[in-house]
């Protein structure tokens, strides 16, 4: 994107809450059931049926608010958002309009220029709609299973300025919700999906440009791609002297482009009004205190702890705390005596390399990982061996000390042996030696590579480099 412009982004995130039953009836909420097997007259909006609010939904939403520094309302109500669509059986969605449960929060992210605070405008509860299944060769079927699955919508302030910040915000938000256990946040199952509101403006301008909305992005990757494409598109339009149309766009995964879905001129008037079938939601001090006491240590607290106690860098600490299970794993390994910095490196590089997308279960016990860190700390193995060992242990979780002993993988740090090898390698490759002496730094790498080959990958890289330099003088 043209650096004379900046993007202004606000995110609306819809999160399916983890409850046994739906928001207004007792149907189960499990994902992936046969179509129309988890619905009843209430969630299908049959005539005469009435909604009854599931108290767990309010508790989860309030917890989400507390964990994102929001103010919690003492008096909330639910409103009807009226529109016709076949996946919406009552022809209105029960949502919250002017009295959301939570307001005015924030969360902190690691941005390019350090820590940045992103405001949260509001969090409200609402019901999900059903799912339309378009059949090949025409015809549309409706699956009402998802109708009435409880959602919270989390609306951010337009504080986000890049695709990376958007990603960091979403990751942080997801981490917090997973920590407090209110949602599975499975993007591939649609239980965590983002709408992006985006406009661009010349850097230094105060006024906001016309924004477009991109709906239902269900992976971090799509969010990043959609933002990058859309911001660029808007800048190019403006530079070409065109006006940005206020509209809803959809991101096409195949082409990586965003396409017009609905123009603002055709925007609906939702005719919000308080749902007369539901009573106001009242929240008192005791209720709040009880929920507050249930909130566990949150990502930011852990991050601070990792930075202060273990001396980790902010970025690394942030990465570790993003997945609660990974952070738990890291702490378990650290408590087995592993050096935190080495553990952090192992997890963020080697373990993350092996972890499948959206999985957090590590098949290596924290004890074994701590032992591996110990071997690295004592200089008994070098980095290429440790990489190889992590892969081996991933397949078959064994004591790394035994693996090192069995396979003779201990690092070669014998100065005498390595010096004689260095002399041999230099003698065997006079060209590289003279190239290096002639000022070609790169030639050294080829000599180091040969030394590593001589030691079957077990040579101490620091020592090898040191001795080669001495011998090349």
């Amino acid at each position: 994107m043209d650096q004379a412009y900046e993007m202004v982004i606000g995110l609306e995130v819809h999160v399916e809450l983890k409850t046994k039953s739906k928001i207004f009836c007792s149907c189960p909420t499990a994902f992936g059931a046969e179509p129309n097997t988890q619905c009843c007259p209430v969630c299908m909006g049959m005539p005469g049926t009435l909604p009854v609010l599931n108290g767990q939904v309010v508790r989860h939403a309030v917890k989400a608010g507390l964990a994102t520094n929001c103010g919690i309302t003492r008096y909330g109500k639910q409103d009807r958002k009226n529109y016709f669509y076949p996946d919406l059986p009552k022809a209105y969605q029960i949502s919250q309009y002017d009295l959301p449960l939570c307001k005015g929060g924030y969360l902190d992210i690691e941005a390019d220029e350090g820590q940045k605070r992103i405001g949260i405008t509001r969090i409200h509860i609402e019901e999900d709609a059903g799912k339309l299944v378009h059949r090949e060769g025409g015809g549309t079927l409706i699956d009402f299973n998802r109708c009435g699955v409880p959602l919270i919508e989390i609306v951010s302030e337009p504080d986000i300025r890049s695709a990376q910040e958007a990603r960091a915000y979403l990751q942080k938000l997801r981490a917090i919700l997973l920590y407090i256990g209110v949602s599975d946040c499975k993007m591939n199952e649609g239980s965590f999906r983002a709408d992006v509101n985006l406009s661009v403006r010349k850097r230094g301008d105060m006024a906001l440009g016309t924004r477009t909305e991109m709906k239902n992005l269900n992976s971090f990757q799509f969010v990043v791609k959609a933002i990058e494409y859309e911001a660029n598109r808007q800048v190019e339009e403006i530079k070409a002297g065109k006006e940005i149309a206020q509209e809803t766009r959809r991101f096409d995964q195949n082409s990586g482009k965003t396409l017009t879905m609905r123009r603002k001129e055709n925007a609906q008037d939702y005719r919000y009004f308080p749902d007369p079938d539901l009573m106001p939601i009242t929240i008192d001090d005791a209720y709040l205190a009880a929920l507050e006491s249930e909130i566990p240590e949150l990502p930011d607290e852990r991050k601070r702890k990792y930075m202060e106690q273990y001396g980790l860098k902010a970025y690394d600490a942030e990465q570790l705390v993003t997945e609660k299970e990974i952070a738990d794993y890291f702490e378990a390994a650290a408590s087995c005596g592993g050096d935190p910095k080495i553990l952090s490196n192992l997890i963020l590089s080697e373990i993350y390399r092996l972890l499948p997308q959206e999985k957090t279960a590590v098949p290596i016990t924290p004890q074994n990982l701590a032992k591996l860190a110990g071997l690295i700390a004592e200089g008994k193995i070098n980095s290429s061996v440790s990489k190889k060992l992590v892969s081996e242990m991933w397949e078959n979780d064994r004591d790394p000390e035994k693996l090192v002993a069995e396979q003779g993988l201990e690092q070669v740090s014998d100065g005498g042996l390595l010096r004689s090898l260095a002399r041999k390698v230099i003698a065997g490759d006079p060209k590289s030696a003279s190239d290096y002496r002639g000022g070609k730094e790169k030639a050294l790498q080829s000599l180091i590579g040969k030394m590593m080959a001589e030691t079957k990958g077990k040579g101490n890289p620091v020592l090898i480099r040191e001795l080669l330099l001495e011998e090349l003088k």
């Binding site: 005539p47 005469g48 009552k90």
Partner: protein
């Protein structure tokens, strides 16, 4: 045993208990009466003959086995067609629900089933309960049993007519702005709109959720109390249902009104009220004085603003409540539609009648952005004022006595071309719904043409027992011959 259709619920119940006749005989008598007279009356949309006989025989078998039976066991009743009945068509007198058979019972139906009430069928009404004459039914006109060329009132016109004509021992109706009380008064029967929250709305097809209540229409005050005993009570499926102790309403029904403070609101007797009705209600007030009550005139100045507020609120809620009838899931579906928007348009254009469309448009307008504050929000503010008005009166009064409607039953077709005039007829009944209070309509005389005149008693929230006690005292005092004894025109 034809005259058994003239018995009150309590008489019927006593006779059944003494085995003077069986529940099957009672049901058969009613079904016979329906088949002989309903063609002319037009009260029933559906007669569930087989189910009725089945339920009646079950009661007889239970009695034969010596099982203890509830007080309404074997009593044949009709149900307004906006109350969901499992397995029995529930149309709301609309084309759009012409083929709708609910797979569930409304809460009140569960209550009646527990009581072993025999359901005769479903009763005609104004489409979706919108109207005051039952002329807005898509299916048929219901006639007033006292004068066949006149309306029975509405929207529970079928319920009132059936009870008055002996086609049901009692009926359930629904009252959003007077839909039980006004037809009760037009047909000369007793009708009660309970306190909002006293009867679960679960399974009542919603017209205006914040105003709708289900209630009984019956021939005597005691009968109304018996039915209310069966249907009032907390139901967790309705969030507006109130969890409290609902006592036996018959227990102190005969304890009189000595010392009761009855209020006569001046505004309810002003211009627009027929003189005959005014005189009849004043006569009732005199009767109360004789019975030892203290009658005083009061002022309820919000009367005039309650009616427009009612039409804004009820239409706004209706526009949203009726949006679900879109042809996608159940009910009528227009056949020729190019796309989904066309399907909605065609289904709703063909499926709804004129009055329903009028209210949907009215309500949609009132909720539209830019108009919300001027209409809906303002109406809610008026609602608060109406409530305060009543609260003030109830600080030193126990009930309010007023007319039910400005006129007695009018001619069929007389007001159909002037909806506004029809709306004006609800002026005395809507404030009660706006305030959520209980109110009762009962006969207090007949006009020069022999048409029933009704009076309205309004009580404190959850003051049904007191209200029924006041009504019972008047019914029994002989100022008027018992309404159950009044013959119908059929």
């Amino acid at each position: 045993m034809d005259d058994l259709t003239r018995l009150s619920v309590s008489e019927l119940s006593a006779n059944l208990a003494r085995r003077e006749f069986s529940a099957a005989e009672a049901a058969q008598s009613y079904l016979d009466k329906i088949s002989s007279s309903d063609k002319a009356l037009g009260a029933y949309l559906t007669v569930s003959e087989l189910k009725a006989m089945e339920q009646a025989r079950e009661v007889d078998e239970m009695r034969l086995r010596g099982e203890e039976l509830p007080s309404l066991a074997g009593v044949p009743a009709g149900i307004k067609d906006n109350i969901c009945t499992k397995g029995v068509k529930t149309t709301c007198a609309s084309r759009i629900l012409g083929n709708f058979i609910p797979p569930y019972d409304a809460h009140v139906m569960e209550c009646l089933h527990r009581q072993k009430v025999v359901m005769l069928g479903k009763l005609n009404m104004d489409e979706f309960a919108m109207g005051s004459s039952t002329e807005n039914s898509h299916y048929q006109v219901t006639h007033n049993p006292h004068s066949p060329d006149r309306v029975p009132g509405g929207s529970s016109g079928g319920s009132a007519a059936a009870v008055a004509a002996g086609e049901a021992a009692f009926a359930l109706g629904s009252d959003t702005g007077g839909s039980i009380r006004q037809p009760a008064s037009f047909c000369g029967v007793v009708g009660v709109k309970p306190t909002y929250g006293a009867v679960s709305r679960y399974g009542l097809v919603a017209f205006a959720s914040s105003l709708d209540q289900i209630g009984p229409l019956s021939r005597t005050v005691r009968d109304a109390a018996l039915v209310l005993n069966a249907i009032m009570g907390y139901d967790r499926r309705d969030s507006t249902s109130v969890d409290r102790e609902y006592g036996d309403l018959t227990r102190r029904i005969d304890q009189g009104v000595r010392g009761m403070r009855v209020a006569l609101p001046r505004e309810y007797f002003a211009e627009g009220l027929s003189e005959e009705i005014r005189d009849a209600v004043y006569a009732a007030a005199k009767a109360y004085e004789k019975l030892g009550a203290e009658v005083t005139e009061v002022s309820l100045p919000t009367l005039d603003s309650a009616l427009p507020a009612y039409y804004v609120i009820s239409s706004a809620e209706a526009s949203s409540n009726l949006a679900r009838f879109d042809g996608v899931k159940y009910g009528f579906c227009a056949q020729k539609a190019a796309d989904i928007d066309d399907l909605y348009l065609a289904t709703r254009s063909e499926g709804f009648g004129a009055e329903v469309k009028r209210r949907i448009m009215l309500g949609t307008y009132a909720l539209s952005s830019g108009y919300y504050d001027a209409y809906y929000k303002k109406a809610l503010q008026v609602r608060t004022l109406v409530m305060r008005d009543f609260e003030r009166v109830f600080q030193d009064h126990d009930c309010i006595l007023s007319p039910v409607a400005p006129t007695t039953a009018y001619k069929i077709g007389e007001k159909t071309t002037n909806p506004l005039e029809m709306y004006m007829g609800d002026i005395y009944t809507v404030p009660v719904n706006i305030a959520g209070l209980p109110a009762l309509s009962m006969p207090c005389g007949v006009d020069s043409e022999g048409l029933p005149i009704g009076m309205q008693l309004i009580g404190r929230a959850f003051g049904e027992a007191e209200l029924l006690r006041a009504a019972y005292a008047y019914e029994q005092c002989g100022a008027l011959r018992g309404p159950g004894k009044e013959g119908g025109g059929f």
